[in-house]
Amino acid sequence: MKRIILVGKPNSGKSLLFNQLTGLRQKVANFPGVTVELKSGKFEQYQLVDFPGAYSMSSLTRDEEIAVEKINQALLDEDTALIICNLDATRLQSSLMFGMQMQAMAHRYGKPMVFALNMIDEMTRFGHQIDMDELSRDLGAPVFAISAKTLQGIAEFKTGVLALAEQASIAVNAAETAALPPLDYSEQVKQSRLLAAKYGMQSTVVLKNQNTIDSFLLSNISGGIAFLLVMFLLFQSIFTFATPLMDGVENLIGLTATFVTDLTGPGMLADFLNDAIFGGLGSFLVFVPQIMVLTLIIGMLEDSGYLARAALICHRPLSYFGLSGRSFIPYLSAHACAIPAIMAARTIESPRKRLITMLTIPLMSCSARLPVYALLVAVLIPDTTYFGGLINLQGTAFFGLYFFGILTALMVSLVLSGSKLNDDTKSDMPFILELPTYRLPHWKPLIHRVMSSAKQFVYRAGPIIFMVSLGIWVLGYFPTGSGGLQNSYLGIIGHWIEPLFTPLGLDWRYGVAILMSFLAREVFVGALGTLFGIDGADENIAGLAANIQADGLTFGAGMGILLFYVVALQCVATVATLKAETGSTKLITALVIGYGVLAYILAALCAQLL
């Protein structure tokens, strides 16, 4: 299939244009360098590939290096029929800087290129106009005025692009062009400045609103308070806003369980459905709304442009721990999932800081820990509210757990930054960050991102939890039937491993659930749901927390489990991603063991001292 490639500077509306052309919903975010992977979709008879944003063809960071490398490969590929270079109409100089370098490369490789002058709606709102024909003549390439947000000019753009792609591209000899010396872009830099002076908007007009908001959000006092408030509300909302939705899901599962078991009547099938399916799998599904709320809020912060400011605010404090302000974005994203966060660390300018960030990302509390936290916080902390319901004690405990994860990550970073780990100081790049314009998030991609985060969570963990729930139920049900868990196969295995968990103040059931959750952390809740369901105390999913309370889990042992889950690296997918990104099996093995030992010591201390 012939291919059209989409390139441009970060934060210029490129990803939204890709969505509008392909109908696919991918991550669209207002933070420089968010597209760290190639995205592709079908655009009529062509494959449209969205390349990571780059400021220049001379790369500075790892993500730019990947972008430039991939662009060069695509230029050499005879299947590449056309290049679309996306320009931000309100930021012409910085867009053209990359655009004209790209044009020089396209010319060298004999590939046709068009410019999409995006965000034309914003430019018009500022009362600015551009003579497209003249700009097209000056650039020596077709230019289409569009707005990927309002769809202005998109129909004409599609027709024009398809017609141009149809024309045969000039065949080039790949070996010959690859051997050419690198281009000197100084002429393109000069030209882009001249064109921006002729066609671009006045910077005082473009930057006025942004600077007014920044004077508040970046000031020492109000900026610091706003940052802390945003972060606190983020973590509070995970518990407060998601509660009604979680109650809804829980009630629905409860009603379905009653309906289904009424149909089957008493017996082994009813026991299986109640304990393994509704008790095990059901108790994990209850936490999906919390993951959706977390993804929604991070997405809103990202798309609004605030996250780049947060990175700036955090730069100095993070630098004390050997990290960069850019480490903040992967750290925050890691609260949804560690895997995209590890990939996002590619935007960090310094290889050393990037490595430290990647190694400490697993300490951020990802969404997989949410079910564990939510269950144990409900068991250990009273549901008390203060200030008319604004502050919830359980929500504050949640905040405390997230904070403990962050604090541990900072301490580990400090230790790693003092070590000889990746001692490549020569390539230690400085912190240079573009602050994007504040924008209202586009709701469509945002809602899609929220839905896909829920889907990914269920699809990724659901099958494992189902298998584990099934396995635990079979081992716990036989050979004694529904009566005696103590004498079941599971009881025998549990008692065998119990000495390992005795210093943590836990009995064999928690031991089984913790061991099972080394596949994926969410399994812990499902496994306990099945184990306590089998125990026959209460078959209602809502009663799991009450069952654990009634069973006599001590505060120290419960807190120990929580801290264990904050620190231990129990995700196979994260380990695989870390290995791929660092290229070192030895380092990642040491990391898994190190975090495991630390988690065990913390849990034992909690159980003994609290």
Binding site: S94, S203, N211, L218, L312, H315, S319, P430, F431
Partner: protein, 77 residues
């Protein structure tokens, strides 16, 4: 010699040079951004905790850390 880091919020400065010790890829990027000899830079503010300097260069706003801002020589306008 005044450096960009010495500029206060609200001041406009003109770039006069970049320290020769700066890595070539970094100085190249700085020049592309507009931190090139003879170009004007408007200093907006210092970031919180004195960690970075926020400057407007052409149509963009950038945040630069002290380490690099100290290597850009400027003249107050």
């Amino acid at each position: 010699m005044m450096t960009l880091w010495d500029a206060s919020g609200g001041q406009t400065v003109m770039v006069t040079g970049i320290d020769a010790g700066v890595d070539l890829s970094v100085s190249g990027r700085l020049r592309e951004m507009g931190l090139d000899d003879g170009h004007h830079v408007f200093c907006l503010r210092r970031g919180p905790f004195e960690g970075t300097l926020v400057v407007a260069i052409a149509d963009c706003v950038y945040s630069l850390e002290q380490k690099i801002a100290k290597k850009i020589q400027v003249k107050l306008l």
